[in-house]
Symmetry: C3
Subunit: 313 residues, 3 copies
């Protein structure tokens, strides 16, 4: 694997999942694999789970880890080619990426959608430029349109839990939120579920469609209760409007995932990538139920990252 920006970079998904599950049993089995190597973590946005799980995973393999918190405000990168840099940007991303690549053996970056410029978000402008100039293997720790480390952890979690021979029914349901939230987790989940042998449905209020480039011919329903029927796994996630780009959808509080709704499912397992707005997106009862997989997912982040790092080496 030369990079890990989306599921398209994965050569053999089954092997990747097996690597992760082996690390879950023996996290230190390859503790010298990355001896003398340095992983650079570049954060343009804040991070808890991704920061800690990626660092820990890397150290389990013997990497040294260097972190750079860019922050949009205090180290603004120019992304326009040919720009006359007499404004607020301090360094061109092509210079920054080239230099970071000189100091690291592998680099991971987090660069969220800004939800203002649909075109540059959709094109993954920052990720694409960074990758172009880095000259080293790049891992996405969530970019504008995808969050593949999360989706790998989600996929592992579903694999681990599902013991039956028939396909599970997996539902991705939109949930309410008070802030504009990117599409990355939802888009990635769609891509990874479509690569699995599952019966997959997306449900969201009318008009809140995800980018059709990700949805393709995935089954979509605007009636949440109908979609939840017989679901084995229910992934709840907010996303802001894609059409009215970045707008918060108001008036859909009844889309919160509740115990009542979980009863419609086939004793379904609720999932969320965290952080979660409790009692806005999902009720406490659902998150804290025995069925809840939220902490299985976060724990699997460790081994997802470790398997990806191993395959990059």
């Amino acid at each position: 694997m030369k990079q890990f920006l989306s599921i398209n970079d994965v050569e053999n998904l089954e092997n990747l999942i097996q690597d992760a599950l082996e690390y879950k049993k023996k996290p230190l089995k390859d503790e010298h694999l990355a001896k003398g190597k340095t992983l650079g973590l570049i954060f343009m946005n804040s991070s808890l789970r991704t920061r800690m799980s990626t660092q820990k995973a890397a150290e389990n393999l013997g990497f040294k880890v260097m972190t750079f918190n860019a922050g949009q405000d205090f180290w603004a990168w120019e992304t326009e080619d040919g720009a006359v840099m007499n404004g607020t940007t301090v360094e061109h991303i092509k210079d920054a990426a080239t230099v970071i690549g000189q100091y690291c053996d592998v680099v991971a970056i987090r660069c969220f959608a800004d939800l203002k410029n649909k075109k540059s978000d959709t094109e993954e402008k920052i990720l694409t430029l960074f990758q172009k100039y880095l000259n080293k293997p790049l891992i996405s720790m969530e970019a504008a349109t995808r969050h593949p480390l999360q989706s790998l952890a989600d996929t592992i979690t579903i694999k681990e839990q599902w013991k039956e021979t028939k396909k599970p029914k997996v539902v991705l349901t939109w949930g309410p939120h008070i802030k504009p939230i990117p599409h990355a987790v939802a888009n990635s989940f769609v891509e990874w579920m479509n690569a699995q042998d599952v019966d997959f449905v997306i449900t969201h209020p009318e008009g809140l469609d995800l980018d059709p480039a990700f949805v393709g011919d995935t089954q979509v329903a605007n009636n949440q209760e109908e979609a939840l029927k017989d679901a084995d796994f229910v992934y709840i996630k907010n996303w802001s409007s894609f059409n009215d780009y970045g707008k918060v959808a108001e008036g859909y509080d009844d889309w919160m995932l509740t115990e009542e709704k979980m009863k419609i499912t086939n004793n379904g397992r609720p999932m969320h990538c965290l952080p979660v707005r409790r009692n806005v997106e999902v009720s406490d009862e659902v998150l804290d139920s025995e069925q809840s997989l939220i902490f299985e997912q976060s724990y699997n982040r460790l081994f997802a990252a470790q398997a990806v790092l191993k395959n990059i080496l």
Copy 2:
């Protein structure tokens, strides 16, 4: 030792002090003890001494160290059970703590009093919730009401310096400050001194009593000069009002610890946990005198942390 949140968690104080003194002679004697283990440092408030001494102590034992700077503003944690999270909090502390515990073997947290909500500070709301959901050994790097790593270093410092057979007289004196300062260092010092065989007195202006739950039947004087008489150790520390919760006490500039006042003592040794507002809390002459123990205290922070980490393993 299962956790280190207060002196009550210490099983054998003499052994803990001996461990620290041995590390002071041979810091690397247990350099592989924590091989493959990760210590997470969670800072909800800024830190210099605690950050650096705890990291260095951990690395002396072979820990990997991961740091997460929460910062009240950019990663606000919800602490109310059942809250509808449609406000400014981004993640519930129970989710954050559970996840952090999944990625670390031992965790240390700094979570100051906010000095606005007396009840939640006094109940150690953040520390208690964090500990409840962490599922891993927790160390306090200063919480709302206590700073036990500081007090252990202070106790070691007094032990090292006192060579006589009679009990030393130790005075904790209030000093002026321009900002509202938490009670944690003072409360902890009271607890740890009351567990030592010392003659201990607290002195502060009338009305500036510490929380009676910590003071108990400790001797308290409102006349600083009288209290300082024959003192062998003088610990100076500001704290804001406990009764008029968090209020800065004005009009007590003459409580600053000066050379003149130190003359009343028995060639006493001035102590302060740092950072210190020079010439406000204590005069330069006192801090920079040969008698001053401020840098003995800060140096002992290293070995206090190392002994605590060893006993937690």
Copy 3:
């Protein structure tokens, strides 16, 4: 070498350069040299290249690295001796430096000029006080008046590139910028070039002289085109006014380094320390030309830091 604050601390420059070039071939050849030792990195200003290259260099030698981001705003250090600290400063630099020295074996600090107080900048007030109280070897990662790690990397770069027996002509030319920029890189470059066997010229608009204490009897020209004639290396750098201290010089846009101007040179190699304001200081064509050495310079930062750290041990 006991410290590295300027070229004056270098005992044998040729050996230092040779050490760096050997590390460039074999970065891990001394990977246990600093076993059990800790390097503290103190940043009072933000940093990308310096942060990452110094950390990586230290880890190549077996150092543990601890980073403290001071930031002027949230951990303000008092620098006045005898100050009554009833204002915005939280800790005296002498207390901070002493404590940091207790926890680290070697310390590196970044403390830019504030460009407001010419006297304290020129005196290197912060660096000098920090060094005075540290009691450990100190490395400058750019201070108010010098950036010696950059200049060492620049010197190595020129050495590597210059294969002829005659002296190269090296020109330091002022370039436009929209913000007040310190003099440190330019001053240091002057010092290091004057210690080399090169034909060295500084060129800048009239009135924008550097501090005469650095310039000495170095050749200075106010006609950029004349200075660039036959140049083998062209170092472009902005600096704000030294006379009208910290003022941004306006109206000199035509001092931007362009392809046209490079044609005047002897197929000269453009150099810049980065970050660079593209198409303000230098045009894209020059920065991205085959002749450009900007990434040779940044890559050499690694080995410059590693050689300095080795010689300090």
